[in-house]
Each structure stands twice: as structure tokens, then as C-alpha cells.
């Protein structure tokens, strides 16, 4: 299960990936995030940054925050599995794109979704419909017409 603070951490991580899209550790970082996202049965504070901190030889200047743990006295969790699924799919798509070294596509993708975790956190754990129009539509038009199509439908089905 992920908390609102994990979403903020993901937002910071996505921005850092965008800052250096061809950084060699980006794929490992995204895999670590996915592992946390897929573990829905447990929760620990700082789990996203802790998972990223497990990666060896990270550039400490940029990634220093993952080595600092916060003490939270209030937590709120993402309970909607469709939201988790979207974040998971986004990381998957980024991993595949980075693995094939298509950095221009990867840059557009991370630029499209870097604010998604913050939007989810600030919107009572939902994705406003306008986000698809203002952000995802641009990426679909440019690179992948079917990107997150079925996930978008599933999120508003309930």
C-alpha cells in the first residue's frame, strides 16, 4: 500500500529522472518503485525512498533525499487499485522505453507524467479528467495512441 508521502516522493523522483533522462540508474529506480507499488499487503514509512536508497552508487548530489527518512505522524493511503495500476503501467512503459534507449520518447513520457503523483495526492487520490486532455493526449498524439487507454476507462468505471 502506498501513502500520500510516497506519492510526493514519486513526484520528486520523476522530476529527477526527467532532469537526467539518460542516467544509468533510472531503470533500477523505476523497478524499485514498481516493487513497492505491487506490494499492496504491507506498508512502511518512507518505503519508496528506502527502496531507491538500496540501489548502489546513486549520484548523491541529486538523490540525497532518498537517504533521509522522515517521521510521519499522520498517514493517508491510496486505496483505489486502478490508480496504483496506472502508476505501475507508467513505470513499466518508462522502463521499456529507457531499455530501448529511446531517450526523446522517454523524456516526453516522464515530462507528461512527472506531476501525476502530486495531482493524485492533491486531488483526494483521484485523477481529474482534465489531466488526460492536458497531458496524456499530447503524448498519445506524438508517440503512442493507446497509452493508458484501458486504464483511463477503468478508473472512472466505478
Amino acid at each position: 500500500m502506498i501513502s500520500i508521502y510516497d506519492l510526493y516522493d514519486m513526484g520528486a523522483i520523476f522530476k529527477l529522472i526527467r532532469l537526467e533522462i539518460n542516467y544509468e540508474k533510472n531503470i533500477d529506480i523505476l523497478r524499485q518503485i514498481n516493487e513497492v507499488l505491487l506490494n499492496q499487503s504491507s506498508y512502511e514509512s518512507n518505503q519508496i525512498r528506502r527502496a531507491v536508497a538500496n540501489i548502489t552508487n546513486l549520484n548523491h548530489e541529486n538523490w540525497g533525499f532518498v537517504y533521509k527518512e522522515n517521521t510521519y505522524v499522520y498517514d493517508d493511503f491510496v486505496r483505489n487499485k486502478a490508480i496504483i495500476n496506472i502508476l505501475n503501467k507508467v513505470c513499466d512503459e518508462l522502463i521499456v522505453t529507457l531499455e530501448s534507449k529511446k531517450y526523446n520518447i522517454a523524456y516526453d513520457l516522464i515530462d507528461t507524467i512527472h506531476c501525476l503523483p502530486i495531482i493524485i495526492a492533491n486531488n483526494h487520490f483521484s485523477i481529474p479528467k482534465s489531466y488526460w486532455k492536458s497531458h496524456i493526449k499530447y503524448y498519445r498524439k506524438k508517440w503512442n495512441k493507446s497509452f493508458l487507454k484501458s486504464e483511463q476507462k477503468s478508473i472512472y468505471r466505478n
Binding site: 541529486n62 506531476c115 497531458h135
Partner: protein, 207 residues
Amino acid sequence: MNIDSNGNLWHIAGGAILGGLFGGVASIVGQAVAGQKINWVEVGVSAASGALTGAISAAVPGMGAVATGLVHGSVGSATYAATEKLAYGRDPSLAGILASGITSGVLAGGAKAIGNKIAASKSITDFGVGEPFIAGQPVGTIQIGVDPKTLTPNGRTLIPSRLETAERYGKDMVVEVFSNGVIYDGHHRVANAIRYGRSVDVLVRFK
């Protein structure tokens, strides 16, 4: 009860109240000037119409001229029809509905277009907003009320569709920069701040 725990809807309520008051008063003044006895149903319809457009305008401040025209045109038509039916017991005519809609839409859309043009053409000095960004500050420094024109874009292309979302959801968020003033995150927010003549709050995220 958790109607508006974050206080996100107060501006909409305020817009509705102001719009309603304006619509009601305008109707009273209009009828008085025309030498008519005040028809309070008409006043009520005008107030409701004003409240609706006020709420919509407050909820979507970045709405373009065409969208503004369409919204006000639709409300104008509906107001005419409701006034005819409820206040005077007459069936509204198609010509009247069209005329009201077109007049309201063109006037509101035109006013919005002119307003946007004026806001976009004004330079920062016209508004007198913000202090210049101070370069070389340590990481973690927050500078409140910075002139957005003194920040440096990093060459990223602005995507027009994102400007409205940035205005709606990120208007009050800090802009993250490198210590030399190059923007790390918040290009669309800075563009909006320049367009609407606002200062921004800046956080030095990296050296």
C-alpha cells in the same frame, strides 16, 4: 460532513454570490429605468443566472474567450426563456432565444478576449510585481514574491494544453529552480504568472 475541507470551493461560492447580486441589481435597475413595476420573478431569474455565470467564471478562471462566449450565450438564452415563461407567462420565441444567446455570448466572449489581450500585453513593470530573483542562494532557500521574468527557462517547450491545468492546480505551488535561477520545475506556472502579472514563490532545489 466533509463538504469543502480544503477550502477549495470558497472562491466559487464567492463568485456565485457576487454574480447573483449583480444579476439581481441589474434587473431591478433595468426595470426601474424602463419605467416598469418591478417584477420580482424576473429579478430572481436574473440573480440565478448571474450566480451561475459567476460560479463558472470563478471555477474556471483560465477559460478562453470562445468558451466564455458559449457559456454566457447558453445562460443568456436560458435566462431569456425562463424570464418569459416564469415572470410573464409567455412562451419564449426561437428568435428571442437566439438573439439573447448571441448577444450575451458575443458581449461576454468579446470582453474576455479584450481582457486577455490587455493582460498578455502588459509588462511586469506595468503590474509592478515581485522582486528580482537573487542568484547564488543556498539550496533550500525560499524567496517569496519573485518577478517570474527574472527566472531562466531551460529551453523546455511549453505545451499550451498544460497551461490551463497548471493555472488550476499549480497556481500557488512554489517554482523549483537551480541556484542560478534556471527553472527546474514549474515552466508552465511561470508562463502563467507572466501572463497574468503575478509574482511567484521560488525554492532553490539544486546548486
